[in-house]
C-alpha cells in the first residue's frame, strides 16, 4: 500500500466521521431544542402556578406565616399583616416569639422545631397573639410542615378569633342568664302551686285553732262553775242547785263532744303544721341556693323533694309513683342542677299527658320515677303515659330553644338545660325513648364517682 492510498483511506474515514459527527450534532441540537421548548413551557407553567399560589396565599382570609426550623419567619402574607399590623419587612427574619407572647414554648408550639409527630399537623390550637401596637388578642392557629428542597418549612395558619371569642362569651353569659331566668320561671310557676299546697293545711289549722278557741271558752264556763263547786265543798255548803248548774252547763257546751273533738283538732293542727314544714323543707332542698360545687347527695331524697314542690303541677293530671332503690349510695352531684332537671322532666311529662288527653277525659295519666344502681352508675328513669315525641323531632329535643309548646308556654330551654347539666356538668348521660300515643321515658345516668 502506497502512502497516497493510505492517506486517501484515512481522509475518507475522517470525512465520513465528520459527517457522522455533524449528523449527531444535528440530532443533539434538535433534542436540545425540544428540551428547551419543554423547559420554556415548564417554566411558564411553574410561573403560572407560583402566581396562582401567591394569589391564593395573598387572598386567603387566614394569616399564613412560614418559618424555618429555628422559628425564624420566612414569609408573612397579606392577611397576617392585617392581623398583626406588621409589614413583611418588619417581621421576616425575626423570631416567631415577636408575634406570640407565649413564645415557642407555649402549648401550640411545643413541637417546634422538633415537631416529629406529623399526626398533630393541622390540629387547631387557641393561642394569644401580639400585634405591632402591643395589644394582645385571641387567635386560632394550626401548624403543618412542608419541605423546601433540603430544608423543612413550618407553616403557621393564623385566624383572629377575637370577635368569635367575644360572641362566645356573650352567648355563655346569655345562657347563664337564660338558665337563671328559666329557674326563676319554674320557681315562680311552682310558687303558686306551693301556695295552694300550703293553703289547705293552713286553712284547717286555722279552723281547728278557732274551734279550740271556742271550745276553750265553753270549757272556761264549766271551769267557773267547777270553781264554785270547789268553794262549796270546802265550806261544806254544797247544794243540789249547784250540781244541777254543773250538769246544765256540761250539757250546754256538749262536753262529751268537746272531749272527743279537741284531741282530734290538736292532732289535725299538728299534722297541718307538719305538712307546711315538709313543703318548706322540700322547697329549701329543691332550690339549694349557693351550691356551686358537687357534694354527695341522696338522689332519692332529692327526687322526693322535687316531687313535693311540684305536686300542684301534676296532681290534677297524673298519678305520680316512685320505685326508688333505697340502697342507692350517695352520688356526687350539683343538687340544685339535678333537682332542676327532674322538675323540667316532670313538668314536660305533665304537659305531654295533658296533650295526649281528650278534652272530655277526666282520667289521669301516670308518671313513674325509678332509681337503681347499674354498675358504677346511678340510673334514674322518668316514664310518662303522655302523647310521646314524634321520631322526626326526637333528635332536636335537647337543642337550645327547641320547643313544641305554644308561644309563651315554653322557652325551649328545659331539656337543653337538662342535657347540659347531666352531660356537661356531671359527665353523665341522658337518653330518651318514646312512642307516640304511648309515652316517653327519659333515662339519666350519673357516675357514682364524680
Amino acid at each position: 500500500m502506497d502512502e497516497l492510498e493510505l492517506l486517501e483511506n484515512r481522509l475518507q474515514r475522517e470525512r465520513l466521521a465528520r459527517k457522522q459527527a455533524e449528523a449527531l450534532l444535528e440530532e443533539k441540537s434538535e433534542t436540545l431544542y425540544l428540551l428547551n421548548q419543554d423547559l420554556v413551557k415548564l417554566a411558564a407553567d411553574l410561573a403560572e402556578r407560583e402566581e396562582a399560589s401567591r394569589s391564593i396565599l395573598e387572598a386567603t382570609g387566614d394569616g399564613i406565616i412560614t418559618l424555618d426550623e429555628s422559628g425564624r419567619i420566612d414569609s408573612f402574607n397579606r392577611a397576617a399583616k392585617g392581623i398583626f399590623g406588621y409589614s413583611q419587612e418588619q417581621v421576616v427574619g425575626q423570631n416567631i416569639d415577636k408575634l406570640f407572647p407565649m413564645g415557642i414554648t407555649g402549648e401550640a408550639f411545643k413541637n417546634i422545631p422538633h415537631m416529629q409527630d406529623m399526626e398533630r399537623s393541622g390540629e387547631l390550637h387557641e393561642a394569644t397573639g401580639r400585634r405591632a401596637d402591643g395589644s394582645e388578642f385571641f387567635m386560632e392557629i394550626s401548624l403543618s410542615q412542608g419541605q423546601l428542597l433540603q430544608r423543612r418549612m413550618i407553616i403557621v395558619s393564623v385566624r383572629d378569633i377575637t370577635q368569635r371569642k367575644k360572641a362566645e362569651e356573650e352567648r355563655k353569659y346569655m345562657e347563664i342568664q337564660l338558665r337563671q331566668a328559666q329557674k326563676l320561671e319554674s320557681i315562680g310557676q311552682l310558687a303558686a302551686g306551693i301556695a295552694h299546697e300550703i293553703n289547705t293545711p293552713i286553712q284547717f289549722v286555722g279552723d281547728n285553732t278557732r274551734f279550740l278557741l271556742d271550745a276553750f271558752a265553753d270549757i272556761e264556763r264549766l271551769l267557773s262553775i267547777y270553781d264554785q263547786v270547789l268553794e262549796a265543798v270546802r265550806a261544806n255548803e254544797i247544794t243540789e242547785g249547784l250540781v244541777t248548774s254543773v250538769n246544765s252547763i256540761a250539757n250546754e257546751i256538749d262536753l262529751d263532744y268537746l272531749r272527743s273533738e279537741i284531741p282530734q283538732a290538736i292532732s289535725q293542727t299538728l299534722d297541718g303544721t307538719d305538712r307546711v314544714a315538709r313543703i318548706v323543707r322540700a322547697m329549701k332542698e329543691f332550690s339549694h341556693p349557693g351550691d356551686e360545687a358537687k357534694s354527695l347527695i341522696d338522689i332519692n331524697k332529692a327526687i322526693q323533694s322535687t316531687i313535693t314542690v311540684s305536686r300542684n303541677e301534676w296532681k290534677y293530671d297524673a298519678e305520680l309513683e316512685t320505685d326508688l332503690d333505697l340502697t342507692l349510695p350517695t352520688v356526687p352531684c350539683l343538687a340544685s342542677e339535678f333537682n332542676q332537671v327532674i322538675l323540667n322532666i316532670i313538668v314536660n311529662a305533665v304537659h305531654a299527658i295533658r296533650d295526649g288527653k281528650s278534652d272530655d277525659s277526666t282520667a289521669k295519666g301516670a308518671i313513674l320515677i325509678t332509681t337503681k344502681q347499674e354498675g358504677d352508675w346511678a340510673k334514674i328513669s322518668i316514664r310518662d303515659s303522655g302523647s310521646g315525641i314524634p321520631e322526626a323531632i326526637r333528635s332536636k329535643i335537647f337543642d337550645p330553644f327547641f320547643t313544641t309548646k305554644g308561644v309563651g308556654k315554653g322557652t325551649g330551654q328545659g331539656l337543653a338545660i337538662a342535657y347540659s347539666a347531666i352531660v356537661d356538668k356531671h359527665a353523665g348521660t341522658i337518653d330518651v325513648q318514646s312512642e307516640v300515643g304511648v309515652g316517653t321515658t327519659f333515662t339519666i345516668k350519673l357516675p357514682m364517682q364524680g
Binding site: M1, L6, R10, R13, A17, R18, Q20, L24
Partner: protein, 181 residues
C-alpha cells in the same frame, strides 16, 4: 462503547505502530462502521475486540497485553482531553474513589446513554484500596491498564493486583491497590 475509545485506540495504533497498521487492522476486521468513528458517537464494543484481535494477529502480542497497554495510554489521553476530571485530586486513591459517584455522574451528563462499568470500594486501612469492578464488557485489562496509568500519573509507589473471584457467581473483578511502605 463511546467513540472516544475507538478514536483513541486508532491513534494509539498509529503512534505506537504505524498508520499502515491502523489501516490494515480496519481493513481486516470486517467492521460494520468501516472504522469510521467520532469521539461523540457510540459503537458496538465488539468492534474494539475485533480491532485488538487483528492487532494481536499482526504484531504477535497477546490480546490482554495489548488491551492493558492501551488502558494505560487511554488514561493519559483522557486526562488531557478532560482535565476537569482531575481537578481537586492529589492522589490515585482519591481520584479512583471518585470514579463511581463523581466522574461517572459527569459522563452521564454528557452522554445519558453511556453504559458505564460500576466501581464498588472497600478498604481495610488507609494504605489499601480495593475496587470491585463490574462491566458487561470483557475489558478488565483495560480497567487495570487505566488504574496503572492513574498510579503513574500521580507518581505513587503502589502495587496493583487483581483477581476475578469476588464471589461465586459474581462476574466482578477485585483490584487491590497497596501503597508501598
Amino acid at each position: 462503547m463511546k467513540g472516544v475509545v475507538f478514536t483513541e485506540f486508532l491513534e494509539y495504533v498509529e503512534e505506537c505502530y504505524s498508520p499502515e497498521m491502523a489501516d490494515k487492522i480496519i481493513a481486516t476486521s470486517s467492521l460494520c462502521s468501516y472504522g469510521v468513528y467520532t469521539s461523540v458517537g457510540t459503537y458496538p464494543h465488539q468492534e474494539l475486540v475485533k480491532l485488538i484481535s487483528a492487532l494481536s494477529t499482526e504484531t504477535g502480542r497477546q490480546v490482554p497485553d495489548l488491551i492493558h497497554a492501551f488502558g494505560k495510554h487511554l488514561f493519559g489521553r483522557l486526562i488531557r482531553i478532560y482535565p476537569m476530571f482531575l481537578t481537586g485530586f492529589s492522589s490515585s486513591f482519591e481520584l479512583l474513589r471518585s470514579v463511581q459517584d463523581q466522574i461517572h455522574v459527569k459522563v452521564r451528563m454528557l452522554y445519558p446513554d453511556a453504559e458505564l462499568p460500576t466501581f464498588e470500594y472497600q478498604s481495610n486501612h488507609p494504605d489499601q484500596l480495593i475496587i470491585i469492578y463490574r462491566s458487561k464488557r470483557p475489558f478488565k485489562d483495560l480497567a487495570a491498564g487505566m488504574i496503572e496509568g492513574c498510579i503513574e500519573h500521580f507518581g505513587e509507589a503502589i502495587t496493583l493486583t487483581w483477581d476475578s473471584s469476588v464471589q461465586p457467581g459474581d462476574a466482578g473483578v477485585r483490584f487491590v491497590l497497596e501503597r508501598k511502605a
